[in-house]
């Protein structure tokens, strides 16, 4: 199988970066020719369904897929995905790729999006709060769980949208950071729906879809409508892999893999229950 020239360059580039880091840490001098290629992935060690240190997240599966396509061993650099994540990892040259970033993210160079998901309503099947729209009047009296960011005055789109509609007193916030001591820090918002602590929850699609399947109760996962709440509050986001801004060679290589292995990528996402909101045309 002949690799196009740009791909060969990318494959070569990766182990060079890894070895440079090792040499900087005072190890033995690099033996570039003999080294096995390494793909260094920065990832959160405890953030299912995305990733964890046991390799149980869909981003772990995607990293393995990409690693094998590159003929590279995947090496993780673990760092909690909080404010400062990209700065401390990708930009600090601790790694070469982050498996998930919004496509319009400015801190990294994104690949073409490999999925588009949406915030989703969650409610127990058969509930009288089977809402599909933010404008459903039942939201005024439902007990609602919503994901919180609390960063830089910013919050999740549903948190803003509810506040803009004056729906505040019946809203319960669930920090996306969760309790980092637990195996599933992000599950409490979905658990609350299953237990009946809230009538409706609004959560980012991958989190909603993954945990809804694991509850003992049947939970409906319904995309939030509208997709964009005016004046400008999007509920759907394109997600890409991200590399350093200057690392166009690796970005190109990843684009090629994501394109060629689209079916495999899709089946991984499907296995994790990621709700898709991809454009029909593509």
């Amino acid at each position: 199988m002949a690799l196009p020239a740009r791909l060969e360059r990318a494959v070569l580039l990766v182990p060079l970066l890894a070895l440079a880091a090792a040499a900087g840490a005072g190890r033995r001098p690099p033996e570039r020719a003999a080294a096995a290629p390494v793909l260094r992935v920065c990832s959160d060690p405890n953030n299912l369904p995305f990733s964890n240190a046991r390799g149980e997240g869909f981003e772990n599966k995607l990293a393995s897929l990409v690693g094998s396509e590159l003929g590279a061993r995947v090496e993780y650099v673990w760092w909690a995905q909080r404010r400062g994540f990209i700065r401390n990892t990708l930009r600090a040259h601790e790694c070469d790729v982050v498996m998930g970033v919004p496509t319009s993210f400015e801190l990294a160079l994104p690949t073409r999006p490999y999925y588009r998901s949406t915030y989703a309503f969650l409610y127990r099947e058969g509930s009288r709060f089977a809402v599909r729209s933010l404008d459903d009047p039942r939201l005024k009296r439902a007990r609602i769980g919503v994901q919180m960011i609390g960063d830089d005055y910013a919050n999740t789109p549903p948190a803003h949208a509810l506040a803009n509609r004056g729906i505040v007193g019946n809203v319960r916030g669930f920090l996306v950071y969760g309790d980092y001591r637990q195996h599933d820090p992000q599950s409490p918002i979905v658990d609350a729906v299953a237990r009946g602590d809230v009538d409706v929850a609004i959560a980012w699609g991958p989190t909603a879809g993954y945990y809804a399947r694991r509850e003992p109760t049947a939970i409906a996962v319904v995309p939030v409508s509208p997709q964009i709440d005016l004046p400008y509050l999007p509920f759907v986001f394109d997600i890409s892999m991200g590399v350093r801004r200057e690392d166009t060679a690796l970005r190109d290589r990843l684009d090629e893999i994501l394109d060629r292995r689209r079916a495999s990528v899709d089946s991984i996402l499907q296995a994790y229950g990621v709700p898709r909101a991809d454009r029909q045309s593509s």
Binding site: R82, G84, R91, F105, E106, L107, G150, H160, Y177, P231
Partner: protein, 598 residues
């Protein structure tokens, strides 16, 4: 060197304003004195020097006439690279220095040019890297009864004896829940008082008292929630109507938003032994956006007076009801006693983030005055009848809307960096910033796998183009008497001496001595890194007066150096990076203690 500096600063602006008879001192009287100061023993046993938080030293060997002869006595590298905000302590012939994470406590021998006697390493949790993302500073230790007490980033309060042996270690919170501790404890009446940080992460703020002897928790007072958890009971008697009522820590929030409502306690505590009251401020409400938390959001962004024995609240005042600008209410309060001729008035002076210099009656919590000490657009004043800040509606940040020229910016007119007060001049020496902010367009962001749209905050220098100020504030006449302007925010504390000299440091690494009466810069020394620490002065074992400062740039404005932030992205560090783009050209990181004497 000196003249260049004079050009940079010393823009003295007389401000005329009516005198307020309520706290104008009697003519010729020894006017305004800090409460609760001990006789000068030459030591420095707590960051604020005394319970009144005066940061005033009675030492007078160094004067405006001889300060130009100051020379380095010794230096010491802490081996830590993050921002050094702590005040060193001096107890007998030993100096104690606590570093940022990993919070090493060093004991230095002052009889031997600061040689290390011992070091204590608490080894805080580093496994969950990135969990405590923003702030790894530590604001210092406190000494009492043979123990050096300090907090670790991972929420332990630790007491170490004078031989370096651990006396006790009490875990007070969990870093895995976003909680951290960065403040300096206050020790009074056999108790250690400490608070938490992490309001942005959904942490609920508290002040906790521990027994100094055993480290056992005596009480904990939350900043939100029902009265029994806030320790509000029959003694609570706030001055203003808006602070009266049952369970306001619940009812001034929608639903149970108070459970993750912020109000963390990461700043300064003062104590009045005569009234037997503790005073401390609470952080801003978080992590909710203003629209998601209609109501006053008690008891965030305000100040409590409490009984140190049982923690019961005695009064409360809210600087920023329903805060919309991230104005934490955690700054230092200086306790002053004013002889009015008709008796003594016990007041509390606070240079608040929102830009007003408050004078409160510290028995009752009544505001006597609230006077701007810098350029303010975010509010229109304080209504002294109701006690309420009058917020400017057009400067309230809103999503999907551009709001320009919000002054002061989120760090406020002044952040945590503490003020000093000299009873000789009657002036406060206020280190602060001059920053405004724009609330701009939206951009995609991503945390814990979850995309959202964030606001783009940009900070920049306010009127005059300088970003930092040290001003002398005449307490009796409620006016600025002089100011020194600085290129960068003045993120260090100040100290003032009986000799008539004020010391402070700049973020580009100049340690400066200025004349306490005139503001003339008398001496300066370029340290190895930018300064965000708290200067102290003490009498050494040889009887001489020394001045000490930890250099080591970092903190919120210094993160662009200490955290190697990319200044091309103007919105990082909560918009601060835009205001600090040029700092990396002026300084590099690294913690170094500098000690000077004549």
């Amino acid at each position: 060197m000196l003249s260049a500096c004079m050009k940079e600063g010393s823009d003295r602006r007389p401000v005329s304003e009516a005198r307020d008879p309520a706290f104008t001192p009697a003519p010729g009287a020894p006017a305004i004195a800090p409460s609760a100061t001990a006789n000068e023993d030459g030591q420095w046993t707590m960051p604020a020097k005394d319970f009144a938080s005066s940061r005033y030293s009675g030492l007078a060997e160094i004067t405006p006439d001889n300060v130009r002869n100051l020379k380095v006595a010794f230096t010491f590298s802490t081996s830590v690279l993050r921002g050094h905000e702590a005040a060193p302590l001096v107890v007998g012939s030993t100096m104690y220095v606590v570093t940022p994470f990993p919070n090493i406590l060093y004991a230095l021998d002052l009889k031997n040019s600061g040689a290390v006697k011992w070091q204590y390493e608490p080894k805080p949790e580093a496994a969950a890297q990135g969990v405590a993302c923003c702030d790894v500073v530590n604001r210092g230790a406190a000494y009492a009864d043979g123990k050096v007490v300090f907090n670790t980033l991972d929420n332990h309060t630790v007491a170490v004896d004078t031989t370096g042996k651990l006396a006790w270690d009490t875990k007070l919170g969990d870093i895995n829940l976003g909680e951290t501790m960065t403040m300096a404890p206050l020790v009074a009446k056999g108790k250690v008082f400490v608070g938490n940080s992490g309001g942005e992460m959904g942490v609920r703020g508290w002040l906790t008292a521990l027994d100094l002897g055993s480290g056992k928790i005596a009480w904990r007072a939350f900043s939100t929630g029902p009265d029994n958890e806030v320790l509000i009971g029959s003694r609570f008697n706030p001055h203003y109507a808006s602070d009266k009522g049952k369970d306001l820590g619940v009812s001034t929030w929608p639903g149970d938003a108070w459970r993750i409502g912020g109000g963390t306690v990461w700043g300064w505590i003062s104590y009045d032994p005569a009234l037997d009251l503790l005073y401390y401020g609470t952080g801003n409400p978080g992590p909710w956006n203003p629209h998601q938390r209609p109501g006053d959001n008690k008891w965030t962004s305000g100040i409590f007076a409490r009984d140190p024995d049982d923690g019961q609240a005695v009064w409360y005042y809210q600087w920023n009801p329903h805060d919309v600008h991230d104005y934490d209410g955690i700054n230092e309060q200086i306790l002053l006693d004013i002889d009015t001729g008709a008796g003594t008035r016990n007041v509390l002076v606070r240079a608040e983030r929102n830009g007003y210099m408050y004078v409160l009656d510290r028995r009752t919590g009544e505001i006597l005055s609230a006077t701007p000490y810098g350029y303010i657009t975010s509010s229109k004043g304080v209504d002294l009848k109701s006690g309420r800040l009058v917020v400017a509606d057009d400067k309230i940040p809103q999503m999907a809307k551009v709001v320009e020229n919000i002054c002061p910016a989120a760090p406020g007119m002044k952040d945590w960096q503490p003020t000093s007060y000299s009873p000789k001049t009657g002036f406060l020496y206020v280190p602060h910033q001059n920053l405004c902010m724009d609330w701009e367009a939206l951009e995609a962001n991503y945390i814990a796998g979850t995309p959202y749209v964030g606001a783009n905050v940009k900070m920049y220098a306010g009127p005059g183009g300088h970003r930092g100020v040290v001003s002398a504030w005449d307490v009796a006449n409620r006016r600025e008497v002089w100011r020194v302007t600085e290129k960068f925010p003045v993120w260090s504390g100040t100290v003032v001496t009986a000799g008539g000299v004020v010391f402070y440091g700049t973020m580009d690494g100049w340690f400066k001595a200025v004349n306490a009466r005139t503001g003339d810069v008398l001496w300066q020394f370029k340290t190895g890194s930018g300064i965000i620490g708290q200067p102290i002065t003490y009498r050494g074992p040889d009887g001489k007066q020394y001045v000490a400062i930890l250099a080591g740039v970092g903190g919120w404005p210094g993160a662009v150096v200490a955290g190697d932030l990319d200044t091309r992205d103007s919105t990082i560090a909560l918009g601060m990076a835009n205001a600090m783009k040029d700092l990396p050209q002026h300084t590099t990181k690294g913690g170094i203690l500098h000690v000077f004497s004549l």
